[in-house]
Amino acid sequence: MPRRRDHHDLPPSIGAQANAGALEDPALLRRLLRAKDRMDAASHEAWPVRRLAEVSGVSEAHFARSFKRAFGVPPHRYLLTRRIEQAITLLRDTDLGITDIAFATGWESLGTFGRIFRDITGHSPGEMRVEARASQSQLECVPACVLKAAQRPDLTIAVLEKRRRDADDTVEPSTREVS
């Protein structure tokens, strides 16, 4: 029987980190969730830390640190997953062109959109359109909004980290990330 995987199986450093990182104050978490909800509702908008911190009613430094402890990714990276999710939905459900989709989901350049889209999903936007439409039919019984969230791309490792692994550490950072 496979052993249940819990933090005892992790290297000691990661286990200790996870313990130190757990954030359990419900009142603070609820306020951080509000900022996350606001990004969900308008992921095409710009969400500098100052704006998010204001929604949560905490200082900028406290916000950036706490958000990552609460949700496992820095706020900027969370926003990227939402934008890619939204782009995938538009690719699947509309006939909008790739450029239109890039701008509609909050990207300032088509190049950045295409590169990060490929980094995260492993496909170009055009390939994703074909694939998403092909696999759509069997999921018709799940409420559309729930399904959309379930198909959110997984961004537990940074985009840059993925790119570095692929390119063997030759790629310079092109976006600044708040951690």
């Binding site: 359990e24 104050d25 419900p26 978490l29 609820r30 969730l33 559309a144």
Partner: protein, 138 residues
């Protein structure tokens, strides 16, 4: 209906606050509200669905030790609990009404293939979708 799901519970961090939210803002009514010491069994139901009760429960003793209760409160507060779906006849009308009562919406009414859905949270952090089925859907 004599057999089927009768009670499903949510965790909330404050039962009085949850009660006010579900009754005053969402239009549920109290089904059962009984106490035994610090324990309080509280369920509400939707007037049009008398066979189903929604439990509004507090993590804590005697059911949970303090560390477990703390974790459950944190999970609710960061929106990690399962999705809940409220079925409505007119999503936009319900949205206007609930918003006027101070419900915290996370998503405005959105059309999706004939259905209309919106999203909101209860004060504890439980996330609801409010869905109006497409006309003629089963």
């Amino acid at each position: 209906m004599n057999q089927g799901i009768n009670v499903v519970g949510l965790y909330v961090d404050n039962q009085d606050e949850a009660l006010a939210f579900y009754v005053d803002k969402l239009g549920f009514r109290v089904h059962t509200d009984v106490r035994n010491g610090s324990y309080r069994w509280l369920t509400v139901q939707y007037p049009e669905q008398p066979s189903f009760q929604l439990g509004l429960f507090m993590p804590g003793p005697p059911i949970h030790d303090e560390a477990t209760a703390q974790t459950l409160r944190a999970m609710v507060a960061k929106g990690a609990m399962p999705p809940l779906v409220l079925s409505v006849a007119d999503c936009r009308a319900s949205y206007e009404q609930m918003k006027a009562r101070g419900v915290e919406f996370t998503q405005e009414p959105t059309d999706r293939f004939g259905s209309v859905d919106a999203g909101f949270r209860d004060p504890a952090g439980n996330g609801w979708k409010m869905i109006q089925a497409p006309a003629g859907a089963k």
